[in-house]
Amino acid sequence: MKRKLLYLSLLGVMLFSAFPLYFSFVVSTKDNSALADVSLIPGANLVSNIKRVFDTVPFDQAIINSLIVSSAVTASVVLFSTLAGFAFAKLHFRWRTGLLLAVVATMMVPTQLGIIPQFMLITELEWHDTLTAVIVPALVNAFGVFFMTQYLSEALPTELIEAGRVDGAASHRLFWHVVLPVARPAMAVLAMLTFLASWNDYLWPLVVLASPENQTVQVALSQLRAGYVTDYSLALTGTMLATIPLVIVFGALGKQLIGGIMQGAIKG
């Protein structure tokens, strides 16, 4: 009886999680004028709504832009975090503990509040309205460094590094031949988390990307919501187009993602 109640409440939680997405999908399949009749059965207007999304905003270009930004950011974050993680986890240098503490502390700094000088800097560098403005500030972050440090200090046997040292291997050789193979699972998880965060980023791209052809998916989506009377069929079709690929990838790789989040948390 108690067991049943438990599973029943878990089902309730699942419904709470998934229903808003399902309902949005239903709205995206209907004509906007038909939204007064609330129902849970999909309509027949999905294709025409998708066409309208591409007619209203340069959505294909936005997807390409987001793919460029997120891929570049992900590759860079994973590389630099693994390098730094290697150093913090296994190399000896002065102020190591202090610097690692500094990395952790920076996670708590609300850097978003520096947005005005950040914007001035981007303008000074003549990066305004270019994807570079979105990519460069995100090339590496504290979470990535901390995450890889945690992983490597456990998963990478110190003896392996020492053996390599005895053979006279330089640090970059150790990195390529010893660290990278061991780090691969954590790098994959970090790549997923980073790609997701970058794909979903909003305020900064909104501020620095002005022209429609330079916008990312999230900024393009926000344009669909604008207008005095929101066309929800249109807005939610765009939302679904931007969300469903992520949900599919999540279904395939979510287990590793959960593992990563929980692993980061234990020591975090």
Partner: protein
């Protein structure tokens, strides 16, 4: 020669490897934060070439602007309405799945699903659900005979709608963080408590919560810091193009501090000086709230 190179390598390489992070953080994180304080002392606009030093005038103007106090109130209200229920929900959820379960991964995936959705998507989805005329929630309320609510129009109702977006997106994620911490609590503690006849709720309160105290502190701090910077949800909830989106509703009933900053910094005449003073005050507000909340959760007994 080789040994010399080797020495340089072991001495220098570590710093080289950690340098990218510190460089990038210095340039795009730390420096802008301090420079914000400097800019806030000027009459500084993107549209004017000259920047006049005006001391604390921007701050004086801000403290006399009732819209600023309104934004501060809204921000704190949304923070309270989202963080407190979310924490309780996350703890409860984590407690529910912290046991042997069938379909373990399925429940966890379901809980994390909302977090994959972008903040823009969440805002658009819930703006529809909370819509006055065709929203699902009002449709349901009406069928239950409770009558419609104009969610956007009211102060409390709009704050509830925005808080719901935040809770929906983050409750499951934080539950997984709590779950990770709960799994490290020794099982024997629960076994002996069960023998002593402690109910499940008593075990949650007296064993689980004190044991995962550091994690709770961490989650509360992070939720506070980010919760005070809420932007996309109120901006997109207003929709309405241009005007209402910047002001957080026609009566500024849900304009948050970040939205207020954005309104001054990036639309109305690009008042960088004034917006910087807003940012700096927000920084202080965040420090104060983080400190208060730290003190509050630290009082959980060990």
């Amino acid at each position: 020669m080789r040994t010399w190179l080797y020495k340089v390598d072991t001495r220098v390489s570590p710093y080289l490897y950690i340098a990218p992070f510190f460089l990038l953080f210095a340039v795009f994180g730390l420096w802008p934060l301090f420079y914000t304080a400097y800019v806030s002392l000027f009459d500084w606009s993107l549209l004017k070439d000259e920047h006049t030093f005006i001391g604390l005038q921007n701050y004086g103007e801000m403290f006399q602007d009732s819209y600023f106090w309104n934004a501060l109130f809204n921000t704190v209200s949304i923070l309270a309405l989202s963080t407190i229920p979310q924490l309780l929900l996350s703890l409860l959820l984590a407690h529910l799945i912290n046991r042997r379960l069938r379909l373990k991964t399925f429940w966890r995936l379901g809980m994390l699903l909302p977090n994959v959705t972008s903040v823009v998507a969440v805002a658009v989805i819930f703006s529809q659900l909370f819509g006055r005329d065709f929203g699902l929630i009002n449709w349901t309320l009406e069928h239950l005979g409770l009558g419609r609510v104009d969610w956007q129009a009211g102060v409390l109702s709009s704050h509830i709608a925005i808080s719901t977006m935040i809770i929906w997106q983050w409750a499951g994620y934080n539950a997984l963080i709590f779950l990770a911490a709960m799994q490290a609590v020794p099982k024997e503690l629960y076994e002996s408590a069960t023998l002593d006849g402690a109910t499940e709720f008593q075990q949650l309160r007296q064993i689980t919560i004190p044991s995962i105290r550091p994690t709770i502190i961490f989650v509360v701090m992070v939720s506070t810091i980010f919760g005070l910077q809420v932007f996309a949800q109120p901006q997109l909830f207003a929709g309405g193009g241009g005007g209402a989106a910047l002001t957080g509703g026609s009566d500024r009933q849900f304009q948050t501090l970040t939205l207020y900053l954005y309104e001054h910094g990036f639309s109305r005449g690009f008042e960088f000086g004034y917006a910087s003073s807003v940012a700096w005050v927000m920084f202080l507000v965040i420090v104060v709230f983080a400190f208060i909340n730290y003190r509050l959760v630290r009082r959980i007994k060990k």
